[in-house]
Symmetry: C2
Subunit: 127 residues, 2 copies
Amino acid sequence: MVEPVAIDGCELKLVDPARVRAVQQAMPDEETVAELASIFSLLSDPSRLRLLSVLLEGGEMCVCDLAAAAGMGESATSHALRLLRLHQVVKARRAGRMMHYSLRDGHVRMLMDVALVHVHHGLGEAD
Amino acid sequence: MVEPVAIDGCELKLVDPARVRAVQQAMPDEETVAELASIFSLLSDPSRLRLLSVLLEGGEMCVCDLAAAAGMGESATSHALRLLRLHQVVKARRAGRMMHYSLRDGHVRMLMDVALVHVHHGLGEAD
DNA sequence: TCTATCTGTGAACAACTGTTCATAGATAGA
DNA sequence: TCTATCTATGAACAGTTGTTCACAGATAGA
C-alpha cells in the first residue's frame, strides 16, 4: 500500500508523496525555524517566566528588586536578563550604579496569554 | 539609598519593597508557571516546530509522511509526537497499522504567529 | 498462524542549559 | 583617589534533553 518514492535523493516509503512535497515547499526556512525555537526556548524556563511576569506586573525595575520578586539570586537574575536582552525581549537603562530593566514590547504578554488559554483549555481531556 | 528589608524571612536590600511585595502577590502560582514553561519547552525544538508546521499545512498525516516532510527519522518522529500528544498538542487516530496525527486546536498557530511577528519586528534593532 | 510492515519504547550517548561561586567592571560618595 | 555598592561575567558543575540504535508491540494479508 505504501509506495517507495525517491525524495531528496533518498528512497523512502510514503503514503502521500504529493502532499509531502507540497508541505515541504510551504515550510518556513531553517533560519526562521531556528529563530522561533530561540524565542520559545527563552520562555521555557520557570525563572525567566517569573522575571517576565514581574516585569509585566511591575514595569521597569532594577536587578535587585527583580531578583527578590522572582525569588532568585542576583547573579542568576543578571544572567537571565542578559539572555532576554540579547534576544530583544527586554531593554536596559542605566541610572547611576543601578540597571533598570523593562519589557521591550507586548508580544511576551500575548504569548503567555495564548499559552495560558491552552493550558486551561486542555486540562482533564483525554487523547 | 537601598534599604535592607526583611522579605520571606530573609534580609535583602531592596529599592522599592512595596512594589516587590505587590508584584509577588500578583504573580501566578508555581504550578501555572511550570505548565507555561512546559508548553513553551515543547515549541523550543526545531524538529518539533517542523513537525507542527507540517501538520499546520498538511492536516492529518501518518508518521512516515510526517518524518519525510520534516526531514527526520521515524523513531525520532515517534518520540516527538508522543511528547506532543502527552501535552495535548496533537491527537492520534489509528487506521490499520498506521497512526494518523493531527493538531488538537489552533493555539499552536497563534503562538507561532505571535512569535514570528516578534522575530521580524525585532530584527536589526539595538538595545 | 506466520510474516511483513508500520509504529512505539527503552537505554545510552553526546550536547546543551541553568545555577552557583568567585571575581571583575562600573559608578557614587567621601 | 579610595572605598562601598550594584551589576556583569567566566568557569564549572549537575541536571536535562534529543537523537540513535535495537527491539518490542500491533495489525493486515497470506
